[in-house]
Symmetry: C2
Subunit: 405 residues, 2 copies
């Protein structure tokens, strides 16, 4: 019996460890592999032979791992480049040294490309190693899945903070603008999800070229109509020429040594400078949105766990390689009605790699006015439910990261 | 039977509505007053005769009100100045018009001073109106209480985000610094509470004059020792001459029209400019920390509710006026052992007004190294427990603010 390896890559999420827990647990339920090794810091640590034996994690540790945010194995931004035979050979040497036949890689579209490239290279060179991808990303920008583990929990905390800060903002009478900034450099899914709360007056996405005059006119209109304006902006919002909002004003002011605030701070200042209101508040969700275990979506953490299990279970078939598991709606009608009804499927890794799924143009209302009902129906089933967390000392219990042991 | 009035003032908290709910519920259990009116937007709205009848809120609405963050009646920054007889008379006229004998004011030390001033003025002028204070503040800077409703929930979410973002930070190998900024202009309680997680390498408080060279030396030491440095800074951190960190660099760079980032951004840039690491991440908790209902401390929400009840119940005594209710430990030993054991007491409003309770110097470790065990023991009992929240559509249910109806 051979062993398997599982590693994590790219930006952490609130549920990426649930997928890891799923692989480990599935092997306890059906020991397809003798040992389940965790690779520390993604491919980077694996190349350096840094492994951690996860085979016999206790049931309790597996439960706590599911509610431990961020990447418990550590992560990396290192991309195995196609044609880098030295790295490929080194990886196979490490795998051989530990009798590892199968590698599971949990990551975004770059990692899915790595799965594709490694599989291809192994096939071409007659090397009997298998590579299987498990997707994750808070950006939700992967194809061909309906959605991606990590996104729903990020959307849930983003919605919760949107609503809480809107109520905070709404308690005041003084004229000020509120701007909430979310992650999302290329795709505006997370920013768009905040509109689910019904609190967002204006939404600025990377999918729509920013038009300063048109935007300021809408802000003015909101203040004229209702005396308040709650704005959500994606960090990747940009002008038609590609200049990011976050960088624009900084450069204009000849203040080159630092990015002093992102898109949110820029919008706030723009509105103040235009004389619409004398002040504003900026809330940058930053990393709090992607790694907040205290606001996991039950749908998300369950899916992430089951995707890990599904990948492991499918790998019992020795022909299963160069594949990625994903989620798609079983019934579009159910999902649109807010009923969760999803199907797990597997597809070729190349179908998951190197594409960016933007927030659909047909779901974006004109004039920064937010999202359509269809988009609301898309978000609704994803953020439902809260796992029953184990608390210790007043906080959700977490495992000590394996890369810190 | 006369009526009572309850209003909210100052910055919102996650549990200020629980105190409001406590007043309303206590009157349902023992109708000391015929009607319970909510004053919209604090004293500002009351002077404008903007009241909302809360007497008959349903049991469910009271439960939801307890988990509704921010100030459901709306808030104000308006301070009734001593000697402003016009405002005082106007207030009494509004109270008379609605047969209101007693006013409960939920707020910080400015509001407690208002309670004191109004009581004194009524007494001097032979006006049979009573004024009672119910404290709240996320800053925890009130005397003579042990702690103040609103702080514990802010500390709990601050700790949860500290731990989650630390784990996110710890997943990486690349050299970067992490800086988390909390509210707290004069007192560093909230920033200090983040140390409860055990994740904070360096803590920068308003209570200690900032010394750039000494601080950077500590940062360098952390990177030398462990390759990482997680820093928490209070927004009010300042140099010995009183200059805020948040304003300092901005002014130096001749960039006067805006505060471009707070203390956190300044520290990050200082560390990068010193060449210690090439990059950093800033997480500004901003308003998310004070109004996050999804992370209420059960101790906090229970105390806030019971303080509201206690104020109402004590007011059945017609001699009870110019008073504020508060919380102090019944047993210092229990609290130090992490066992919650608190006592509700009432004291003269003047004792609660116009003082700032700083984070104790004897609880601060030298060299930005954090807090003592005694401070940890202080925080522990406060952040315990999680209320069972009612969720609707994937989010904690909230009431529509009364000022928006």
């Amino acid at each position: 019996m051979s062993n398997c390896l599982v590693a994590q890559s790219g930006g952490p999420t609130a549920v990426i460890n649930a997928s890891l827990a799923g692989v480990v647990r599935a092997n306890q339920l059906n020991p397809v592999y003798d040992r389940v090794f965790g690779g520390l810091h993604g491919i980077e640590g694996v190349l350096d032979d840094k492994l951690y034996d996860l085979t016999d994690l206790s049931g309790r540790d597996i439960e706590i791992l599911k509610q431990t945010p961020s990447s418990a194995l550590g992560t990396c931004r290192y991309k195995l480049k196609r044609g880098n035979d030295a790295d490929y050979k080194r990886l196979v040497d490490v795998m051989d040294a530990h009798d590892i036949e199968t590698m599971f890689y949990i990551g975004g579209n770059d990692s899915m490309d790595t799965v594709d490239a490694l599989s291809e290279w192994a096939h071409e060179n007659g090397i009997a190693k298998r590579f299987i991808g498990i997707p994750k990303t808070v950006d939700n920008d992967l194809v061909p899945v309906d959605h991606c583990p990590g996104f729903a929990s990020a959307a849930k905390i983003a919605c919760e903070i949107t609503h809480a800060t809107y109520l905070d903002y709404a308690a005041y009478t003084r004229p000020e603008v509120f701007v909430l900034e979310t992650m999302g450099r290329d795709a505006g899914w997370l920013a768009a999800s905040c509109c689910f709360t019904g609190n967002v007056d204006l939404l600025v996405l990377p999918e729509v070229d920013f038009d300063k005059e048109a935007f300021l006119a809408e802000v003015q209109k909101k203040f004229d109509e209702k005396g308040e304006c709650y704005i959500v902006v994606s960090e990747g919002a940009h002008y038609a020429d590609g200049t990011y909002l976050s960088a624009g004003d900084t450069a204009n002011d000849g203040f080159a040594h630092a990015v002093l605030g992102g898109a949110g701070a820029t919008l706030k200042q723009m509105i103040v400078d235009a004389g619409i209101v004398p002040r504003g508040v900026v809330q940058d969700l930053s990393r709090a949105a992607r790694s907040s275990n205290f606001a996991q979506s039950l749908v998300d953490v369950t899916e992430a766990y089951e995707l890990g299990m599904s990948a492991h279970m499918r790998s019992a078939d020795p022909a299963f390689t160069s594949a990625v598991v994903g989620i798609r709606p079983r019934s579009a009608e159910d999902m649109a009605a807010g009923v969760y009804n999803a199907e797990f499927f597997a597809g070729p890794a190349k179908d998951f790699a190197n594409y960016v799924k933007h927030f659909p143009a047909e779901w974006i209302l004109p004039n920064y006015a937010g999202i359509t009902q269809e988009a609301m129906d898309y978000f609704r089933p994803l953020i439902q439910g809260e796992p029953k967390l184990v608390y210790e000392n007043g906080m959700p219990a977490t495992l000590v990261p394996f890369n810190k042991r």
